[in-house]
């Protein structure tokens, strides 16, 4: 029962598509998804924490490098 206009497609009560990623059952997903879904989803929290940590540490390395560059610039200005 698809309507003519896109605006009136009811996606709240009807599935937008029968290919819905979240609906896949356990046996159909790959090993990674099964692992992440185990133990009450704690590994998802671990994943989120590690992403935050790794981004922050990457940022820290970059700032450290930038300060080093400034230090070297000052050092070379002094000697020249």
């Amino acid at each position: 029962m698809q309507e003519d206009s896109l605006a009136v497609v009811d996606t709240l009560t009807e599935a937008y598509s029968d290919q819905w990623a979240g609906a896949a059952s356990g046996e159909e997903t790959n090993a990674f998804i099964q692992f992440m879904s185990s133990n009450d989803l704690i590994f998802v929290v671990l994943g989120v924490s590690l992403i935050i940590w790794l981004v922050l540490i990457f940022f820290l390395f970059r700032v450290d490098k930038k300060v080093s560059e400034l230090e070297q610039e000052i050092q070379s200005n002094k000697t020249s």
């Binding site: 704690i42 590994f43 929290v45 671990l46 924490s49 590690l50 940590w53 790794l54 540490i57 820290l60 390395f61 700032v63 450290d64 490098k65 300060v67 080093s68 400034l70 230090e71 000052i74 200005n77």
Partner: protein, 218 residues
């Protein structure tokens, strides 16, 4: 880039992962939040170490008024305050789900920890009040020596004498029979990792301030 920074990055990644992954015994009320100990307590330990570094350079400044010592003292104090704020916020979140309230005004450790941080906030307010660099450095150093002496009393001596829900109060050691022994295997590496991370951030912070000082002087 010094090699120890890479070690800290890997070490901390392992500590965070292990903190989530190791088996922890079932503790009533705490349940899985017992893992918070790996992250909440090291915040305070890192704060103490940074305040000690700050204290050390304040003394050195009073001995020999080199502006670099002042920069090191204020940088260590500001990174220490940042870790202290993390400790307060994580403690507050943890308290909501174990004690049932975001903030308990009858809880000595919580309130005194907040007071300790305010003493350090006052340190930065004091610093901002002076335009003259030498005057600022000298007064800040004297104030800092006063500030650091309050820390053991506010966070250990006084809370231990009072009734409190926080472990380590009411005459109890923080780690007693009520706490599972296994937690130490991650907790102590977490102390080392977070303290090293704090020192790293302090290292960047004080080098930035030094560069700024050099540019102002040139």
């Amino acid at each position: 880039m010094k090699i120890w920074k890479y070690v800290v990055a890997i070490w901390m990644t392992v500590v965070i992962s292990a903190g989530f992954l190791i088996y922890i015994p079932e503790i009533p009320i705490l349940e899985q939040t017992a893992r918070n100990i790996f992250f909440h307590v090291p915040m305070w330990m890192t704060m103490f170490v940074l305040f000690l570094i700050s204290f050390w350079y304040s003394i050195k400044y009073l001995n020999e008024p080199d502006p670099v010592f002042d920069i090191k003292a204020s940088s260590a104090a500001s990174v220490g305050v940042a870790f202290g704020v993390c400790g307060l916020l994580t403690g507050s979140l943890w308290a909501r789900f174990t004690w049932g309230s975001w903030w308990t005004f009858a809880e000595p450790k919580m309130n005194l920890a907040a007071l300790a941080l305010m003493i350090y906030v006052a340190y930065f307010m004091l610093r901002s009040a002076f335009d003259d660099r030498e005057k600022r450095a000298k007064l800040a150093a004297v104030y800092n020596i006063f500030a650091v002496t309050t820390i053991p009393f506010l966070l250990y001596v006084v809370p231990r004498q009072l009734t409190s829900l926080h472990p380590g109060a009411d005459g109890n050691p923080a780690f007693s029979e009520i706490t599972a022994d296994e937690l130490r295997f991650i907790l102590y590496p977490a102390f080392i990792g977070f303290i090293a991370l704090g020192i790293w951030i302090y290292d960047i912070h004080h080098r930035y301030n030094r560069v700024k000082l050099e540019l102002e002087n040139s």
